[in-house]
């Protein structure tokens, strides 16, 4: 509770500290989601919207605009063609690197204006509650199976698919990768035993995990998730081992970052950097990060560009190794 008050106080202080002459949006701000309704990006956008509204961080209203068509390419093209418009902000994830490679979408994130990286999202290996309870048993069962285990995931030649390819490479087990339209669908299909496993983000499987319908086998990060509050009856996020601990040396984290269209002024960018900084200090944001098991990070300005360049290199390398780059 004290944290909550301090955070609210800090937010209020920051709010009053804004100089009167700084740029501010004059129209409702559109927060562009490159995924379907109910996906991780959508949920995050709604949380940001609620936090901004509740703490009165911006005079203009913020509306969430879902542009998940063409696996999210719709949102990228929309942002690209909105050059100079400071009333649109994209909530981006690794598709900004992958989509141009796999589907030759005419898009390059360098054409947009980076605002800030606000979180890193985890990937977890899940199987049905009636399946093996540890990674070793799971891999052994996958290897022993006469038909390949079915692995559900979001989209084709994207994060989930890349992770599956690397799991195959490290273990020698074969998986049949089933691309679904959303992580929610992949979760439901796993619960219905139509697939043996998936590599959903924590937020996508949270509800079915709490309902005891799936097992969280391991997290694809170099260290365990920090959050120690019990999420299910017996486990917290921190109780989920890393895949490396379990002998499956695959790591991947996905950025969650905000971008403005290209050719906006530095004052406009500064407004949004400040806005999201304030959002990241609200109790809503902190609660959301913990609930969805997101890793809180913050990059802005030069640091962010540096981070993006490195992250881009890493993703390109993974995509190339997985053989997903279109010729």
């Amino acid at each position: 509770m004290r944290n909550l008050i301090t955070a609210a106080g800090a937010a209020a202080l920051l709010l009053t500290a804004v100089p009167a002459k700084a740029w501010e949006p004059t129209k409702p701000v559109e927060i562009v989601v490159a995924a379907g309704a109910g996906g991780a990006s959508d949920q995050m956008a709604r949380m940001i919207q609620a936090a901004i509204q509740k703490h009165n961080l911006m005079k203009q209203p913020m509306v969430v605009s879902l542009k998940g068509g063409a696996s999210g390419a719709e949102a990228l093209i929309y942002m690209k063609s909105s050059q100079g418009d400071p009333n649109k902000v994209l909530i981006a994830y690794s598709l900004i690197y992958m989509l141009p490679l796999s589907a030759k979408i005419p898009f390059n994130w360098r054409e947009l204006t980076p605002v800030s990286v606000i979180a890193m999202d985890q990937f977890v290996l899940w199987d049905n509650a009636s399946g093996p309870k540890t990674v070793k048993d799971f891999i052994a069962a996958a290897k022993a199976s006469s038909v390949p285990f079915k692995m559900g995931g979001t989209g084709s030649k994207r994060e989930d698919n890349v992770l599956t390819v690397f799991m195959e490479k490290k273990t020698g087990a074969k998986f049949a990768y089933l691309p679904y339209k959303s992580g929610g669908e992949a979760a439901t299909q796993l619960v219905g035993k139509h697939t043996e496993s998936n590599v959903n983000n924590p937020s996508e499987n949270l509800e079915v995990w709490r309902a005891g319908q799936v097992n969280a086998l391991c997290v694809f990060d170099s260290e365990r998730i920090d959050y120690k509050t019990k999420v299910t009856a017996t486990q917290s996020w921190n109780d989920v081992p890393t895949c490396k601990e379990e002998g499956l040396d695959v790591q991947y984290l996905m950025l969650r970052a905000m971008f403005l269209p290209g050719k906006v002024t530095p004052e406009q960018t500064a407004f949004y950097v400040d806005l999201f900084k304030k959002v990241s200090q609200t109790p809503e944001y902190k609660e959301y990060m913990e609930k969805q098991a997101l890793k809180p990070v913050w990059f802005e300005g030069k640091d962010m560009v540096e981070f993006l360049e490195q992250d881009d290199k890493l993703n390109t390398q993974l995509m190339t190794e997985a053989g997903f780059v279109a010729k």
Partner: protein, 503 residues
């Protein structure tokens, strides 16, 4: 009887003056967006969603779902009076509803539509109330092969039971399927048939196509024939309402069958569109006088409306219990739930009892209030039609354009809508049915994804469509329906051989 207690609790949550007022406001707004051609449910709900952000979740969802009910009722008004379906699932309503209006029976058709919507929704709500926990686990049995089998069933029933020439139905469906291939392919992650255009990336939105195919082409036809809108005026008197209600028991088989189809397809997410067409086709198939369908038969209004609304309502169950939105509107409602911090999933029923049962209670109340409201206000909404065509045609074109634009905020969609208007006009002239085309546009890519996911899962064996009792029976039924005319004939012959006296 636990459900009953919870439901009473739900009514308790609802029965406050404020909630009832919100309900009325929602319904009126809903009917209004439903009546404006080209707006319809999803757009209406999407546009009005921000209105509810400041309310508490229960009030907000009550208002939103009432907007939804209102839009459904309103959609029937345009289908019957204008021959412009507000939503894809109102398409089947136009088959007989519009001819009835042409014959001066608009009031009967509207009463029939509203009454059967009410009956359909009521059946589905009753089902939701008492089967909620069981059904959500049944829905989990649907994997890719089951989904594909349901889509196949819909396609096959169209060809096998449809009224139009089979080859024309297949041509129309094939063209629709071809168009769904445009855009990003989920399975391979590649772009198809976009020819480097960034506007085609998104694919063809079926609402854009529907607005053009039905709305714009109708205007073109009207202009060609005479400059008078072929919409029909209607005022509903108590006498007409009672007359239609008195005849209701005669159609109980149709009503029960359509409610059943609707609930089934709503829960096993086949969708309201498939339900309305199947309801219509089956009513026609089992009728003693199938030729009178399409010429203004009241059963032809009862059947699809009951099925569509039963399905539209039943589709809320997988949305709440699993987070799978069954329709465009349900997807927007789902978005709304998230705004208020409610995560749909099996636990929603446990953790947010107030909300879930408040919503279910609002389905009962909203439908009753809605029925009374539409029956009494149709003359006002229908008076839009007394305005001369020269004045109203541009308004319809403009609202179609706004509707098409609003779906994805894309200017390109307006051009696409106009193009589909011309396509619809040509199709109508050469007698190619539009409904299979629309159906293919809506279900095509989902059917393709489900088929290819099944194939990846089974390693390419078609046996997967008979791999368990559920999928096997749906697939077999689909194939039987496809060849229904032949089977029907063969049975007829056998019967004649067996007992020549019958014929």
């Amino acid at each position: 009887m636990e459900a009953f207690g919870l439901l009473l609790h739900g009514f308790g949550v609802l029965l406050t003056g404020k909630t009832l007022l919100l309900m009325m406001v929602g319904l009126v707004l809903g009917i209004f967006v439903g009546v404006l051609p080209g707006l319809g449910g999803p757009n209406g709900v999407a546009i009005l969603l921000p209105l509810t952000f400041t309310m508490d979740p229960t009030s907000a969802i009550v208002m939103l779902s009432c907007i939804y009910w209102g839009a459904l009722f309103g959609g029937a008004i345009t289908s019957i009076l204008f021959n412009i379906p507000g939503e894809a699932w109102s398409v089947a309503t136009t088959f007989d509803g519009y001819p009835m209006a042409q014959q001066g029976q608009a009031a009967q058709a509207l009463t029939a539509a509203f009454t059967s919507s009410f009956i359909g929704s009521l059946c589905a709500v009753l089902l939701i109330t008492f089967l909620a926990p069981m059904i959500s686990s049944f829905a989990l049995r649907f994997g890719p092969p089951e989904f594909f089998a349901v889509y196949l069933l819909t396609f096959c029933s169209f060809v096998g039971l449809g009224r139009e020439a089979k080859h024309k139905t297949i041509i129309s469906m094939a063209l629709g399927l071809l168009l769904t291939g445009i855009g990003m392919d989920t399975i391979s992650g590649q772009l198809r048939m976009t020819f480097g255009s960034t506007d085609l990336l998104r694919g063809i939105n079926f609402l854009v196509a529907v607005i053009g195919l039905f709305g714009i082409s109708e205007i073109l036809l009207t202009m060609e024939e005479r400059l008078a809108l072929r919409g029909h005026a209607a005022s509903i008197s108590m006498r007409v309402v009672l007359g239609v209600w008195k005849d209701l028991p005669k159609y109980w088989v149709t009503l029960v069958r359509s409610s059943f189809i609707g609930c089934w397809l709503g829960i096993t997410p086949g969708g309201a569109i498939a339900a309305s067409f199947m309801g219509y086709n089956l009513a026609k198939r089992f009728s003693k006088d199938p030729d009178s369908f399409g010429k203004g038969r009241i059963e032809g209004v009862f059947a699809p409306e009951t099925a569509a609304h039963a399905s539209g309502t039943a589709a809320l169950l997988p949305m709440l219990a699993l987070g799978i939105p069954g329709s465009g509107t349900a997807a927007i409602l789902l978005g709304g739930l998230m705004v208020w911090g409610l995560n749909p999933g099996p636990l929603l029923f446990v953790e947010h009892k107030d909300f879930v049962w408040g919503l279910i209670a609002s389905m009962y109340l909203g439908n009753i209030v809605g029925l009374v409201l539409v029956l009494s206000t149709v003359p006002i909404f229908a008076s839009i039609l007394r305005v001369p065509f020269a004045a109203i045609a541009p308004m319809i074109v403009v609202s179609c354009a706004i509707g098409a634009y609003a779906i994805q905020n894309a200017m390109f969609d307006i051009w696409l809508m106009l193009l589909f208007g011309v396509v619809g006009y040509v199709f109508k002239k050469i007698g190619i049915p539009l409904a299979p085309f629309t159906l293919a546009l809506v279900l095509g890519s989902r059917a393709e994804d489900a088929f290819r996911q099944s194939m990846i899962g089974s390693g390419g064996s078609m046996g997967v469509f008979w791999s368990n009792g559920l999928v096997g029976s749906i697939t077999t039924l689909a194939i039987a329906l496809l060849f229904w005319p032949l089977i029907d004939k063969a049975f007829g012959n056998v019967r004649r051989l067996w007992n020549p006296a019958v014929t």
